[in-house]
């Protein structure tokens, strides 16, 4: 301590203030804002549950060929519109079994209705095996293998039923997850780049540029989204290969998506410019670059992450809607929206309600992103004293 007669007083002052923190957990004193945010997020139960759900959905998308028991394009003509064979552990006659099993199906053609009718055969128990050998596939384009997560040795196990060509819905949903979920991520990435750069310039430069950008954003937001998306995606050339079409659809979805983010970034820039610690940084001669990237951006990065998370659902719903209408992604590409296309007809739907299962995955994913985004937003507020 330096010399000075009020030194003892300082020490007393500090000692008293130290009491504010319980002796137990001292790690909080040297915890960075990110660590504090993670602590707060961990306390948000719905957000944590959503994180788990998203983890599983992403795992399903990444390891789709391994997880799905069948090739998503393999047709089983004897098994069109087959109902789900639900995995069970209990059979009235055989009792409990540790190993899950499914009942077999018997199929016959109803000549009158001219369609195949399936009945569950409660006498035929098909045990499910794990890590079975199925059809060979290529994992990540590097590994040739035929080991699949689960399957039956004889008969079939369509746990989510089949579609009109007798294709396994579960395998198709797992593969569809790759498209549906990656569209959200790539779309959000494009929106992020557009939104942060345009919103950043708008908020930073202000004046006429800001005004023009604000008018454009207002305009985009006042136009009904879906008809505009429909118009743009219907204008895509039909002969484009699926990958090109995929990226074009992502780009179309991002045309709207960036505006929300640009607004967040702009308003943050505007409010941060006047923030005391930003002024303080200027007063010690920090360069503009340092002020922006060391002081301003890290402070609102968490808000950006929250709004990014909250804008993923819109992208996923957009792709689903467009593909459902037949003007987004098209077969043979498998996405959840494409899968739902088969459920357009009420009569079909009434006979085969399992065709709606891809929709449940859409809802689950969207819900999870919404809860997670809410959780991050709540956790992001650096001055909230709640829970710290």
């Amino acid at each position: 301590m330096s010399t000075g007669r009020d030194n003892t007083q300082h020490q007393r002052d500090e000692g008293a203030e130290e009491q504010r923190h319980p002796q137990g957990d001292r790690s909080i004193l040297v915890a960075s804002q990110w660590q504090l945010m993670w602590r707060r997020l961990k306390r948000h139960r719905l957000a944590m549950a959503s994180l788990v759900v998203l983890f599983f959905i992403y795992a399903m998308a990444i390891f789709a060929p391994f997880i799905s028991p069948y090739d998503p394009f393999e047709t089983y003509p004897q098994r069109t519109f087959a109902p789900p064979q639900i995995p069970r552990f209990y059979d009235p006659e055989a009792g409990f079994s540790i190993r899950p099993f499914v009942y077999g199906l018997t199929s016959e053609v109803d000549m009158e209705a001219r369609r195949r009718v399936h009945t569950i055969d409660y006498d035929e128990m098909l045990p499910l095996h794990f890590f079975v050998r199925g059809e060979p596939y290529n994992l990540f384009g590097i590994m040739e293998t035929d080991i699949r997560l689960f399957g039956v040795e004889e008969g079939t196990a369509f746990i989510f039923g089949t579609d009109r060509y007798g294709r396994d819905m579960f395998s198709r949903i797992a593969h569809g997850a790759r498209i549906s979920i990656s569209i959200g991520l790539i779309g959000v990435f494009i929106s992020f780049v557009l939104g942060v750069s345009i919103g950043g310039f708008s908020g930073y430069l202000g004046g006429g540029f800001d005004n023009a950008i604000q008018r454009i954003i207002e305009f985009i937001r006042s136009v009904p989204t879906l008809p505009l998306w429909m118009g743009l995606s219907a204008a895509l050339p039909l002969h484009w290969p699926p990958t090109t079409r995929y990226f074009a659809i992502v780009a179309i979805l991002s045309i709207i998506g960036w505006t929300g983010l640009a607004r967040v970034v702009r308003s943050k820039f505007l409010s941060m410019r006047e923030e005391d610690f930003v002024v303080a940084a200027r007063l010690i001669n920090a360069s503009e670059r340092r002020v922006i990237f060391v002081h301003m951006v890290p402070t609102f990065l968490s808000h950006i992450i929250a709004s990014l998370t909250l804008s993923i659902p819109g992208m996923i719903l957009g792709e689903t809607a467009l593909s459902f209408l037949g003007i987004g992604l098209r077969p043979p590409v498998v996405s959840w929206g494409v899968l739902l296309q088969q459920a357009q007809n009420v009569a079909t739907l009434a006979r085969s309600p399992w065709l709606l299962i891809p929709g449940i995955f859409v809802i689950l994913t969207v819900l999870a992103f919404n809860f997670l985004g809410d959780g991050i937003r709540d956790a992001a507020d650096p001055y909230s004293t709640e829970g710290v």
């Binding site: 009020d6 007083q9 500090e14 504010r20 040297v30 303080a280």
Partner: protein, 349 residues
């Protein structure tokens, strides 16, 4: 301080800062908010100049002009550096301002918003050294520790984040940051108003100790008269962009020469149950700096208003009774206004 021949360290001459008000679709310029309107004063080395006034009277705008965070609309801000050279901050280029900022630093009112919550104390206090002298964390560690001790913080806490500190401790961090470059002049913008009363006194004592040890000069802003009385050698009272009275602190408090000063002084609480003070209660609120009344800006609220007050603007004039006491009231010499009876009256509190 009565030594007139001495060269002032800082001299403000007729400083004005107007903010344009723009309206409508084409952002037409329709009016000005006259935040600072013709302020002049001088500050000498080692002196503390107190600036008193209610919220929104232009105190903060004034000092932001002095540190070069805002560009004045007109007027001069003459700063004389250690080498005896005088610069006009109002017209300095960026490079010059950056050099001057090593000598003039600012302390903020709110110790919570003035520290970046994402940086450790070490990085906050070390930032001026990093930016201006290119000293990294390792190179500046010793200096940061020294600064922390200087302001009464335990240097072992340098890896903590601001959220781990109390308001008073945070204000000490802010002071340490301002001292990092060895400034000559500190501009303190209500540095104690966000703090508990008990901590306020400690921070004021810290300011006084630092002034002695480092030979600092202060411009000390507060809306709390007792704080200014406690710390400053001379003081000025501001009202909607104008200085209405300035004098040595004791003289200003004991025999005010402006009705506004009198009203402010009458509001100072006197902590004795038997003493009932007569308060001068002003009518209405502070004038809108966008629509100042004609004549004396204070006249609509002044209890001693005369006909002249609503037509003629009173300039700041030295009162006849004493030297170095200036008042912007037409009747400064004829009114007999009540101040504090003695300085001890409230200093004892």
């Amino acid at each position: 301080m009565s030594d007139n021949v001495r060269q002032p360290m800082l001299e403000l001459i007729n400083l004005r800062k107007y903010f344009p008000v723009k309206k409508g679709f084409f952002r037409r310029h329709v009016a000005d908010v006259k935040a600072v309107d013709g302020v002049s004063f001088s500050l000498y080395e080692g002196e503390t100049f107190g600036l008193v006034g209610e919220s929104g009277c232009g105190k903060t705008t004034l000092i932001k002009n002095i540190v070069g965070a805002l560009r004045p609309t007109s007027g001069q801000i003459l700063f004389t550096d250690a080498g005896g050279q005088t610069h006009d901050i109002a017209r300095a280029d960026r490079e010059r301002i950056e050099a001057i900022r090593r000598d003039i630093q600012m302390i903020f009112q709110d110790p919570f918003s003035s520290l970046n919550p994402r940086m450790t104390v070490q990085d906050i206090i070390g930032e001026p050294l990093l930016v201006n002298e290119g000293k990294g964390r390792r190179a500046s560690r010793a200096r940061v520790a020294e600064l922390m001790e200087l302001v009464g913080l335990n240097p072992e806490l340098l890896r903590r984040y601001p959220h781990a500190f109390s308001g008073g401790q945070r204000q000490r961090i802010g002071i340490a940051r301002a001292l990092a470059l060895d400034p000559k002049l500190l501009l303190a913008d209500e540095p104690t108003s966000a703090l508990d009363v008990s901590v306020q006194a400690q921070i004021l004592n810290l300011f006084m100790r630092l002034q002695r040890e480092l030979n600092l000069s202060y411009i000390f802003i507060s809306h709390d008269l007792t704080v200014v009385q406690h710390i400053s050698d001379r003081a000025a009272v501001m009202y909607v962009g104008h200085i209405v009275e300035t004098a040595e602190t004791e003289r200003l408090y004991v025999s005010p020469k402006h009705p506004y000063t009198e009203a402010l002084l009458s509001a100072v609480p006197y902590p004795h149950p038997d003493v009932k003070k007569k308060k001068v209660v002003l009518k209405g609120g502070a004038a809108d700096p966008q629509l100042l009344p004609a004549g004396c800006p204070f006249h609509p609220r002044c209890p001693y208003v005369e006909a002249l007050c609503s037509t003629r603007f009173p300039s700041l004039e030295e009162v006849t009774e004493s030297q170095q006491h200036w008042s912007a009231c037409h009747y400064a010499d004829s009114l007999s206004l009540r101040g504090l009876d003695t300085l001890e009256e409230s200093a004892g509190s």
